[in-house]
Structure formats: C-alpha cells, structure tokens
C-alpha cells in the first residue's frame, strides 16, 4: 500500500509491502500520486530503469529522482512498477545494490491528466528503508 504523510512545507511519501521491492514500487506510486491523479494514467508504454547504489536508501532516492527526470525530459509519467533489487557483497564489507524497474505509463497529456503539484526531488529528509514486523517500509520527504 502507499500513502502520503504530513510535513509543514513539503510532503512525505511512503510505500509498504511484503518485500523490499514492493515497498519501492508503492513508494513510487505515492510520489506519482502527489503529482497527478494516478488512476488517470494508463499503462500504455513500458520503460526499464537500471540503477546502482551503495545502500538501499540512496537507491530509493535515485529511483524516485529518475522518475522525475523521465517526466521532465521524456514527458512520461508512470503508474505501475515492477522492481527487482539485487545485493552483491564485496571485500571490506562493501555492498552494492542493483535496481531494475520496469515502469508502465504514458506520455503526459494535459487534456487528460489532472495535475496537482510538481515534485522537484526526493530528499534525505525522513528517509527510511526498513523492515518492521515482516513489513518493508520505504519513505522520504519529496520537495514540492
């Protein structure tokens, strides 16, 4: 499930799921729902995002920011996601997380889509990627 939460100047976005991947998927939906009525987006086209990061929380931020990048450059907005995350371990306790996300959505159509407010970026503020009682939570504040 996804939800937004209170912040004085900006908005918090949160995704919860049985897996880390589904928490990421839901968090992305939460962010998209801040920008637009998410139900108005049809999954007409798909796009694959591949990202790497040294920790899960930076991976979440990169994933969300990549969706904003695609909105501004390709004018594409996505509403459904299939995320895969892989963890590799190296020497000296170094880790690397790889994300592959297939995103489904369509080109922005101002006649069809009802926009609420633009999101500038995902931030480190209240950034949490954790597992609580078997439920994975992925959240942060987005700057609007």
């Amino acid at each position: 499930m996804f939800e937004t939460f209170e912040h004085k100047a900006d908005i918090g976005v949160r995704g919860k799921g049985n897996t880390l991947e589904s928490a990421f998927e839901e968090c992305a939906k939460a962010m998209i729902s801040v920008i637009i009525d998410i139900d108005s987006i049809e999954p007409r086209k798909s796009h694959v995002i591949k990202l790497k990061s040294s920790d899960e929380s930076n991976l979440l931020i990169s994933f969300l920011n990549e969706l904003l990048f695609l909105k501004d450059t390709k004018k594409m907005i996505y509403s459904k996601f299939r995320v895969k995350i892989e963890e590799s371990a190296f020497e000296n306790n170094l880790k690397e997380f790889t994300l592959k996300a297939t995103c489904f959505g369509e080109k922005i159509d101002l006649k069809k889509h009802d926009f609420l407010v633009d999101v500038k970026a995902a931030t480190y503020s209240q950034l949490r990627v954790v597992q609580e009682d078997k439920i994975f939570v992925a959240q942060c504040i987005v700057d609007v």
Partner: protein
C-alpha cells in the same frame, strides 16, 4: 531548547550539546511561542533544525528570520555565514530550488487603468506564460547553448532577444555569476532543463500583477520609482528542473563527502562537504550555474509579461521598467564583518533574501543611497511588500532578511480544510483574478495556510533589519 531574549523581537537560541554557535532569531513573541509549541509537537521542527544547522563546523554566523518554518535539514527563513577554510557548503541551506526568487517590473499605468482590462490581461498572461507540470517553454536550448546559458545567465537570454542590456543593471549580480565550471553540472541536469527556461513551474510559484496600495517611506519609494496607485509585477520562480537535478546529483556526492571527511552531522538532511574540498568546490560551481539558469528563467518570463502587456494595453514593452530581481535560495561569497573584522565568507540563504544596506556597490546605482530593494512575496490573495536593506542588516544578519510569510499549515492539512473552488470564488469577490493550471493544487497555497505576512514584515521593520517602503495588493495571480 532554551531561547533567550536579547531585546524586543530579537532572541538567541542558547548553545548546547554539539552546537558551535548560538543563532539569533528575529521574531515577535507570537512567532517564538509557535516555535516552542512546535518543538514539543513535532520531531521535525524549526528549532531542532536550527540547532543541527548550528552544529556544523566553521560557522561565523547563523540567523533565523521572522518567516522561519521547517524545511528539510535547515529551516526555511535562515541564513548561514561559513569560513572559507574551516566551513562547509551544506545542501539543505540552498536546497533543490536553486536561486528561487522574485523578478519584478513596474508597469507604466495606474491600477485604475489596469482594472478596466483586468480579465483580458489575465487571460493573455495565462496563455503567454508557460506554467504547470510538464509544460515546456518556447525557448529551446541545445547542449552547446546550455553551457553558454549556465555561464551567461540573464545576459545570455538578453543576447537571444529577451529584453535589453539595461535590464541587467536591475538584477542581483547583474543576472550573471562568473567563474563557472560547466562540467560541474551533469549532462542529465542540462537535458532536463532544455525546454524549461521561461516557464513558471508549479507549487508556490506565481506571476502576480499588483497595485501599489500604500507607501510607507516616500523618499525611498521615490528613489525606487514607486507611486501609490501604480502597478507592479512580481514573478516568483527559480531554476526549475536544472536546479532540482543538480540537487539530486549532489546529494549522494555530499553524502559520501560527509563520511570521507568525517564531518559530524546530527541529521542526514545536513549532508555537506568542506567548502575548500574538491566536492565542495564542484558543488559550489554547480549552484552558481543553477543560479544563472534562474536569472535567465525569470528574465525571459519578465519579457513575456512585458509583451503580453503591450498586446493588451497597446503601450510599448520598453515602457515597462525592470524593477529588481533577487533570489532567496542562494550560496555566495560575500564580505561581512565578524568580531570587528571584515572577512570573506560563504553565505547560504534558504528562504532568505539578500537585503544589503545603503551605499553598497552591489546595489543598482539609482537605488544605492536608500538600500537594496527586498521583495517579500505574500501568499495567494494577500499583500506583498517592498522593503529596503539597512545598515543594521549588514551588522546583525550579514545582509540577510525574510522572503515571504512562511507556512503555518502543512499542504495536506490545507487540502483537507480548504476547497480550491470556494477559495477562487472568495478571492474573485475581493476583486482578485486567479488563473491556475490546477484548482486542486490551489488549496495548498491558500492564505490560511501561511503566517500573517504583516506580522512577519513588521518584525523586520521594528528590528530595523529591513524597512517598509511599500505595500502591494494583488489584482491578477497566475499560478502554475
């Protein structure tokens, strides 16, 4: 946390734990009470952020202004001055919306004359100024041109036919910060900005046509060329997506820098790098490039307003005067006095306007004797103000002052309490024409969601940090 009263409307947050400096707060009793209440209620409160910010190394000064409210990491309505050798450049003190600010114009007609064609002008502006989510501008910039734009700022768009050279005299830094390494900005950031120069954006960004309702200080108003009953234009926006992408690109770089240089930060929101490090210098250069993009963006929108005005009122666009342009999310090297000694420092202002006192060479010649104009944007449907910078600001706040009213209600609270359509109707009854790309988004920016701007402005006036010159009343508001 302990707040000590220094004198009327000036307080200090007492040093504790890891704080390196005791920040001054310019606020009235009511604002202080709200800050204290908020401290008990929310973890993410302004005082806690101010405390964390004051724990960074190499600080020469930290101030909070009357419009203070929680941001991420640094409170909005705050400014820091950092030593160039010992200090850091902090992400949260400039933020994603690099050089967000206000560009302003004086129209050559009275409010009475403007009111006769109010609706027509509003329609025309709404059509001519690209705004809202996913909307691009007419000015397309290829990758070579993008580097020129980042180096040239407003000067670059003037060369491309947007405005006159003389306009540049009335922009902070003359619309261009020099010495930029364009490789500090990623190709992604440049790509994201390609069709965004000359667009308003969304959220709290707006273009407002205002009546100069009241003059407080005749002498300064005369120098500024403002008369009661005249008309004024405020364009509030920033560097758009290039600033957002620069921020997104540098967050992980600064995150690593904190570990690399072993900087003690109380909160991940405060990621930073030593100013005098490779990461710090690169980030500073990227901020400067973003700053120039914002100057260029606002200059283009200013010209679009001038052209729209010419179309509707039949007066030449050259009769519209560029009044001033000043940012409120910035990072700059400035010279200020600390402990009696002049020194160069890195000044970062987050939701804080530069407000230099009289006779400073950075101020346009025509305005110099009275001080720098400070444009304080109201919330939708409320007054805005023009203030002037003072000698006291130079001594007390390293030339920093307020930028707006400051939020008092969260966005979701505003949406649950306020209906966008009702709000439009109410404002229309007050004679204000609002044209918005999203009525749902409108409720978030309702006047009720903000502090009372008059209290905020009066606090700065009373403490002599910025003096009131004129009060503006909205006539037309174009929202993203």
């Amino acid at each position: 946390m302990k707040i000590r009263k220094i004198k009327k409307d000036i307080y200090s947050l007492e040093k504790e734990e890891r704080m390196n400096i005791s920040p001054k707060i310019f606020a009235n009793q009511e604002i202080i009470n709200t800050l204290k209440r908020d401290e008990l209620k929310n973890q993410n409160n302004s005082l806690n952020q101010l405390k964390n910010l004051s724990s960074l190394p190499g600080l020469k000064g930290v101030v909070a202004l009357a419009d203070i409210h929680p941001g991420y990491g640094a409170p909005i309505g705050s400014a820091t001055a950092s030593d160039l050798r010992e200090g850091v450049i902090t992400f949260a003190s400039t933020g994603f919306d690099i050089n967000c600010g206000i560009h302003s114009l004086v129209l050559p007609i009275t409010a009475k004359e403007l009111n006769k064609k109010k609706k027509e002008f509003a329609e025309s502006l709404f059509k001519d100024i690209p705004a809202g989510v996913g909307v691009g501008g007419k000015l397309r910039i290829d990758s070579t041109q993008m580097d020129e734009l980042l180096k040239g700022g407003a000067e670059y768009v003037v060369k491309r036919g947007y405005g006159k050279k003389k306009d540049l005299n009335f922009l902070e830094e003359k619309g261009r910060i020099k010495k930029i390494d364009v490789t500090s900005v990623s190709l992604k950031a440049k790509e994201r900005a390609r069709d965004q120069i000359g667009t308003l954006g969304s959220g709290n960004h707006y273009c407002e046509i205002q009546e100069i309702e009241k003059i407080y200080d005749l002498k300064s108003a005369k120098k500024f060329g403002l008369i009661q009953g005249g008309t004024f234009v405020s364009i509030h926006c920033g560097s758009r997506a290039i600033g957002h992408q620069i921020g997104s690109d540098y967050l992980p770089i600064l995150d690593s820098a904190v570990k690399k240089y072993g900087i003690n930060i109380n909160n991940r929101d405060l990621v930073c790098a030593p100013f005098n490090s490779e990461e710090g210098q690169k980030y500073f250069s990227a901020i400067k490039a973003g700053t120039n993009a914002a100057f260029a963006n606002r200059q283009v929108i200013g010209v679009l307003v001038k052209r729209s005005f010419e179309k509707v009122f039949g007066l030449s666009e050259s009769e519209v005067k560029t009044f001033y342009d000043v940012g409120h999310n910035t990072a700059k090297i400035e010279t200020h006095k600390f402990e009696g000694k002049k020194r160069k420092v890195l000044v970062q202002r987050k939701g804080s306007t530069r407000g230099f006192g009289p006779n400073n060479l950075a101020i346009p010649k025509n305005y110099r004797v009275v001080g720098q104009p400070v444009i304080v944007g109201g919330s939708m449907g409320t007054n805005s103000f023009i203030l002037r910078g003072t000698k006291e600001a130079m001594n007390e706040t390293f030339g920093s002052t307020i930028h707006g009213a400051g939020r008092s209600m969260s966005r979701s609270e505003a949406i649950s309490k306020i209906n966008g359509e009702d709000l439009l109707k109410k404002l229309f009854e007050k004679g204000i024409v609002i044209k918005a790309h999203s009525t749902k988004g409108l409720a978030e920016e309702a006047p009720l969601a903000y502090k009372n701007i008059i209290d905020v402005v009066n606090t700065m006036d009373l403490t002599n940090i910025s003096k009131k010159v004129a009060k503006l009343k909205p006539i037309i508001c174009i929202k993203g």
